[in-house]
Every structure is written in structure tokens, then in C-alpha cells.
Symmetry: C2
Subunit: 337 residues, 2 copies
């Protein structure tokens, strides 16, 4: 497409020469630093335009010792985690927040041994100026690695073990209580739950919220079945619940995907929703609007999570000490409960 295969791109030296100034001066106008006279500045600008100069980011990175990028690291068992639209939203939020800076977003899936290794390298080589980590399992080695690498790091969701200084999370306990309270207010008394992964803070916190709500309401019935946040696991869990507790009259699923799975099982079992069995999910993903019936769910501001993580990271990179952030959840009432 270019007229010559790979014409060497002009360097700052050439710009400087053409403008009749020193490279130093040229660099200064590039970074619009002070101490350049109007005349020289204009000359440099003109030379840049005439030459079609664009600054080489790698050279800049080497000289400034800044990578010009941050990483979003997504952990998990399987690259399939990304099938969960949740992450897309986080990514969108992060990406949008980065637009205002000149940092790039590098995405890492630490879902395989090889992926893990590469993340370690990323951390050690300081190939990025900061990292955001998401969906860490209980004792994910990444937690320590990130902390020890000395790279600014913010976590999405508190890791299970270990205190991390910087994170953004949603109030999972409260959200789960909202959900369960809603079911209670509907007069349900035999409320089961499909939990998320119990080696994650999210999974545990949402279960705790469920339990607290029942306890406060003085309801003795308990029925739990563990899932892993996927639709399939939601189905399996619902089947198990139905088998062991056919008398349940409501289900709180720890996320929308599992709730969708549960809905299908209930439907197949011929149990009407919400008449016979009410269902509440968690997340507020698009999918929850299109299940049958539409899902009552606890909405969390997913895009905001991505955005706020990014902002926190930027602030960290800028040398500040931001405070952890807990975002609110809101109950969205639809037809399933």
C-alpha cells in the first residue's frame, strides 16, 4: 500500500535537522514541555508535518522506562470463562476509561499453565505499567505474584485469602440479601440457593447474604447446591435441589447464567415460575431479560467495575494511594419472582 515496501520512517533527528533545531528541542515540543521558543516550536511542528513524522513508542518507552500499557488479567480454569458476557462488559469499561490516557490495554488469559507462565513473565519483565486482576480463585498464586512483582495492581473482587490493598468490588453480601429478602417478602419460606464457586469471595459472600437473610427472617429452611457460575452447573444444581427438596418454593442463584439454567430445569420439571417456584439471579446480564420468564435479578454495574478498576490503577500509577471501592447493587424486579 505504501509506495515503497518499507521506507524507513523519519526519526526525531531528521525532524530536528529539518527544523534547524536540536533534537532536544524537537523532543520538547513533542512532549510539549516548556522552554521552547515560539519560533522553534512552529518550525518543529512544520517539519513534523512535512516529514509525516510519528514518534516511535518503543524508543520512548525505553527512554522513559514506562511501558505505555496496562494489563487486564483474567484467571480461571478454562478460556471458556470469556463466554460469560460479564467479562466483555468489564473489558468495555476498562477500555473506555483508558481512552482518555495514552495507555494500551493488554489482555491476558491466565487459564492454562502456559497462560500463567506468560502472566508471570509479564509481571517480572515489567512489560506493563500496571495490572488489573479478575476472578482469582481461592489460593491463586497470581495474587502473590502480582503483589510481589512490585507492579501497581488492582483486583477486581477481593481475593479470598490475603489482604490486598487495592480492589474494587460490589457489595455481594448485601446484594444476595436483597435477593433473598425479596423472595421472603413474596411469602416464600422454602428458599434454596445455587451458590457460585465456593473458593471465591464472590461465591462465599453471596451465600452468606442468602444465609443472613434467612436467619434474620427466622426461616429454618436451608438448601444449597454448589455451581460454578455456568449455565450447565446451574442446571445440575437445580436438578439436585429438586431431587432433595421437592418442596422448595424459591431459588436464589448466585448469578444469571446459573439462574437461566435453573429456569430450564424447572420448566422441564413442569414447575411454573414464579407461581410454583420463584427464581432470582445475580448480575443483571442481558440474558436475564430474555429468559422465560424474564429474570428478577440483582444488578451490578459491571461496566463501572471495569472503569473504576482502571481509574484506581491509573491513580496508583500516578503515585497516589486510592481507597478500595465497593459498588452498590440494585434489585431488578421482573417476572421470575
Amino acid at each position: 500500500m505504501t509506495d515503497e515496501p518499507t521506507r524507513r520512517r523519519p526519526t526525531l533527528d531528521e525532524v530536528a535537522e529539518r527544523a534547524g533545531v536540536s533534537r532536544t528541542a524537537a523532543s520538547r515540543v513533542l512532549n510539549n514541555a516548556p522552554n521552547v521558543s515560539r519560533g522553534k516550536r512552529d518550525a518543529v511542528l512544520r517539519a513534523i508535518k512535512e516529514l509525516g513524522y510519528v514518534r516511535n513508542p518503543t524508543a520512548r518507552a525505553l527512554a522513559t522506562r514506562q511501558a505505555g500499557a496496562v494489563a487486564l488479567i483474567i484467571s480461571g480454569e478454562d478460556p471458556a470463562v470469556l463466554a460469560d458476557p460479564f467479562y466483555g462488559q468489564v473489558i468495555a469499561g476498562a477500555s473506555t476509561a483508558l481512552e482518555e490516557t495514552d495507555l494500551h490495554l493488554v489482555l491476558c488469559l491466565a487459564t492454562s499453565a502456559r497462560g500463567q507462565t506468560r502472566v508471570e513473565q509479564l509481571l517480572q519483565t515489567r512489560a506493563v505499567d500496571g495490572v488489573m486482576l479478575m476472578s482469582l480463585r481461592g489460593d491463586d498464586p497470581l495474587t502473590c505474584l502480582a503483589l510481589e512483582a512490585g507492579v501497581p495492581a488492582v483486583f477486581g473482587g477481593k481475593p479470598l485469602h490475603g489482604q490486598v490493598p487495592y480492589y474494587v468490588d460490589v457489595d455481594n453480601v448485601r446484594g444476595a440479601r436483597q435477593a433473598t429478602d425479596h423472595l421472603i417478602s413474596l411469602g416464600r419460606t422454602r428458599i434454596a440457593t445455587i451458590t457460585g464457586l465456593l473458593d471465591t469471595d464472590v461465591g462465599l459472600a453471596r451465600r452468606r447474604g442468602y444465609q443472613e437473610a434467612l436467619t434474620l427472617a427466622g426461616l429454618p429452611f436451608r438448601a444449597e447446591e454448589a455451581g460454578d457460575f455456568t449455565e450447565r452447573s446451574g442446571m445440575a444444581a437445580m436438578e439436585a435441589l429438586l431431587a432433595h427438596h421437592p418442596d422448595l418454593d424459591a431459588v436464589f442463584a448466585a448469578n444469571d447464567n446459573m439462574a437461566a439454567g435453573a429456569l430450564r430445569v424447572l420448566h422441564r420439571a413442569g414447575r411454573t415460575v414464579p407461581a410454583r417456584t420463584a427464581v432470582v439471579g445475580f448480575d443483571g446480564l442481558t440474558v436475564s431479560e430474555f429468559t422465560e420468564p424474564p429474570l428478577t435479578t440483582v444488578h451490578q454495574p459491571i461496566r463501572d467495575i471495569g472503569r473504576e478498576m482502571t481509574r484506581m490503577l491509573l491513580s496508583l500509577i500516578a503515585g497516589e494511594k486510592p481507597s478500595p471501592l465497593i459498588l452498590p447493587t440494585t434489585l431488578i424486579r421482573r417476572e421470575s419472582a
Copy 2:
């Protein structure tokens, strides 16, 4: 976490000195290049270990003139496009394919003016060794920009206008015909379609498949309503179709999201699926398994798209001239048709 705030990391020079060899030799063992005697190699390796040396990727990038990263660029009106789980899968595929290399994945959302600008810069500054572009609209300037930047570029889905040399796509026309043929084989004769964006190749191709199938079957009925691949647009389109063609007996939606929206509208309208109105989608996303009823759909291998785009890009970067790739689709028969 480190014992000292920012202890300078060892450089290759220090490694070389400690190992008693030249920096050149040290570099050679790092890149396991030939012409290093066994003894020196071992000495260097030992020094690396003792010093805890890790190579500085930026310096390497500057010297080799390779960025060590490729970009996945997602175009679109709105960062919300990422809410579509489709992209998550593509990303997962790309990410997995990259694991075998030492390239990073930088993700760019060209969904705003600012985002566009940044992509342009990315291209011009050659901040990456190659790019993959997805979901370009009709006359998206990115097509030209990418081509003209002289950076290896592969497209996900043929852009509408202009020939691009490297792309991976699925056989959308054939897929849509499979879907429509299936409806025809079920005895449906009044088959409508909810199209995707008609300024994209995907949207057009799937519509063409639908039309071809009807023509070949000698069915005169035609009913189209345009959507934009979102659930919401699927609902609107379905409502319009129902208003204008209450006698339709089947619908082919150009993707699962819109099919899910259509399903809801049909349900609300009291039309049973598939008895009264059969529905077929396209994509084979997880959501299609959890609609009510589960969606018959044309599955496309989304992860593979990401993977193959990446492989094609790698091959391009390696200086080869790969051929475009068309991936097959398969009809998944579930309950909605």
C-alpha cells in the same frame, strides 16, 4: 513487597560481566543462538540465575524493531458491542493461539471517536506487529487505514467494500440457507427473516442465504425486518413482522441474540413456538440453549475464528502469504424449529 522500593534490575551487561563473557555472548545464550561454547553458555545461565536477571522487553523491542504484540481491534457504534458474548469467544480463541508465541494481545475498542484515533495511532506508530480487525461496518475507514498502514492485517469477516487479501470468515450464505432450508423442510411456507445490519457483509450474506433458499424452494412469501444484532432490535423487528405479516409461520433471525428477542415477543403475543411459529437463530451462543424453547440455530465455530485469525496473522508476520479461510457452519436442531 520487594525489600527495596525500586532496586534497579540487573542488565545484560552485568550478567555478562559476572559470567566473564562479552555482552554479545550473553545475548546469544538468551536467544539461544549458535556459536556459544558450552562453557560460556553455562556460565551465563548461572549468572542469570544468580542475578535473577530478566530481559527487558522494551529494549529488545527497540533493538529488534518488533513490538512483541498484536492487536485485536473491535469496531462498532458502542462499547456495548462487547456485551455480545460472541467477542469473548473470539478473544479467547485469539488469546489461546497466542500462548504458543511470545506475543501479547492488545485489545482496542474503536467504538468512539477517541477510540478510532487511538487505533490510527497504533497503526501509524507501529506499536504492534500486526492487527486483527473485527465487525467493520460498510465503509469503515479502518479498513483502509489498516491496509495502508503497511502492518500485517487480517480481517474477521470480509469487509463489505473493497477486497482485502487476508481474512477468515464463515460461510454465512450457506449457513443461512441451512437454516431456511430446515424451516422449509418442516413444511413452513411463510418464512420471515430478521436481518442483521445491512451495511455489513454478515448481515447481507445471511439475508442472501435466506432469499436463495426461498427462491430455490419456489416459495413466494417474503418478509424482512432489519435488526442490528441486539436482542432489543430482535424484539422490535419481530413486533413489526407480526404487525405486517400476522400469517407468518416461521422466522429466521440472523443471530441468536435477535432470535432470543423474537422469542420473547412471540411468547407475549401468545404464539406458541414452534407449533405456531418456528424460529431459527445463528451463532450457537450459549444463550441459545437457555431460551424458551431452546433455539434451533446455525452454529459457527467462534473460538476457531479467533484462533485462525491469529494463526493467519502469525503466518503473515512470518512473511508468508496465507490464503483466506472460510469456516463451516452446522445446524443445531433444538426445540424452536
